[in-house]
Symmetry: C2
DNA sequence: AGCCGTATACTCGTAGCCGGATATACGCCA
DNA sequence: TGGCGTATATCCGGCTACGAGTATACGGCT
């Protein structure tokens, strides 16, 4: 993958899309995006916006069209999308839709560190998450329901978002249930660690019987499927 | 939320966890994390690691314990976690597990821009994604299956990851199906736009009948549920 | 004894991101 | 008509991230 994307930033994508409708100055882009509800799916703040617009211009994907002056307000630069920009937009969208990228959600990171908490505390916190997720989903649904008259085509990202949250909720609920009815297999060893503060026999993050200084080697050496990335952003 | 987290970075969390086991120098932290399979859920690279360790030290969450010199290798600084660090770890984990944060997955962003593509192209790309997701899930499953002997407790993040991917797959499949059997309601209007390059009556991102310069206002004015963030990080 | 490949351990420079500051104009109310 | 709150429009400085580079040591082979 040579060079990668010149400007790789979701906000840049939104700018290209916005400008593919008609030329605009940055501030107007922002308000337009806001009015279209883009802030729900793309992080937008002015600092980034002007940086991104500058970069896009530098790489010839957009171009300054005019420096108009309406009323006696401060001058502003109107940008328009270029042919290169249109091409980039098409290609970029294709990639984003067709190929999933590895991302690092915070909850996944936290889960990988769950053993540092005691089993009891973990259960408690997971139950809190269940409640919070239920609330968040209800809110999103309500918001979505309030947007009557907007074609579904423009609400796909919201539908997707809700679907993902719901899947997460289901998964966490399952885990909570396993903890509560004690079908989760490692609860005793886990508790043991937190009581004595040492690994019990047959338990711990690596294959048993390792020496205190060994590399622990989750993946039994030689399993190396070493793939699973595909180039982050 | 005053001050927010001093060092807010998943890698910092991993460092705290790693040091809560025993003191280490940065390079050893990295290899330890790698051997535990942490790179699957947390982005790790040396540049960030040393920055993060420096910051943690600056904020008193970890402290340099000794500058040992083993053999005649370059000197290295061994860090240990402090009490403040242990407290921060506990609190941070609690927050990460209990309260979901708003994140911005790239696919969600792309979905919100899907209308810029033609319906046909979108369908094609979505089908590609389905295939890619199937493959990625199969790979993850295979990898997980290869990790026999590792207690489930240490594989939760992988299980979660697979569950999420699968939910996404299901959702995308559903969308593809709706496109293919033409039950998706907006296909005609969408096609129309791409043929004539103008909005048909009763269609478009905002409530119908708007003037060409109006703010479009997805959310009908006065709906403002204005919440839905929770402070990213 | 000399050489090279690999592991160890860290450093640096560039580039991007973001919050908040800045500066002007407008409109409304007293 | 003076003042203040809000909308318009942009810029800047500091912090963070990260890949690529550096430098040393070890060990095995010839």
């Amino acid at each position: 993958m040579p060079g990668r994307r010149a400007v790789a930033n979701p906000l840049a994508l939104a700018v290209l899309v916005t400008l593919s409708e008609r030329p605009m100055h940055p501030y107007e882009m922002a308000t337009t995006m806001r009015s279209y509800g883009k802030e729900r799916s793309i992080k937008l703040n002015y600092g980034s916006l002007y940086t991104v617009v500058g970069n896009l211009a530098k790489h010839g994907l957009i171009a300054a069209a005019a420096a108009s002056r309406e009323g006696r307000r401060p001058e502003r630069t109107v940008y328009e999308i270029t042919d290169a920009g249109r091409a980039e937009l098409e290609e970029w969208m294709a990639e984003l839709i067709a190929v999933p990228v590895k991302e690092y959600p915070q909850f996944e990171a936290a889960l990988s560190e769950l053993p540092v908490l005691s089993p009891g505390r973990a259960l408690e916190l997971l139950k809190d998450r269940v409640a919070a997720l239920e609330q968040a989903i209800a809110d999103s649904r309500a918001e979505l329901a309030g947007l009557t008259g907007v074609p579904r085509l423009f609400l796909l990202e919201a539908e997707y978002h809700i679907a993902m949250r719901e899947a997460e909720l289901g998964w966490v609920r399952g885990l909570v249930a396993e903890f509560e009815d004690r079908t989760f297999p490692d609860l005793d060893g886990w508790q043991y660690v937190h009581d004595r503060h040492e690994w019990p026999p047959q338990f711990g993050p690596g294959p048993e019987g390792r020496e205190p200084g060994d590399p622990i080697g989750y993946p039994p050496p030689g399993t190396g499927t070493g793939r699973e990335d595909g180039g982050s952003n």
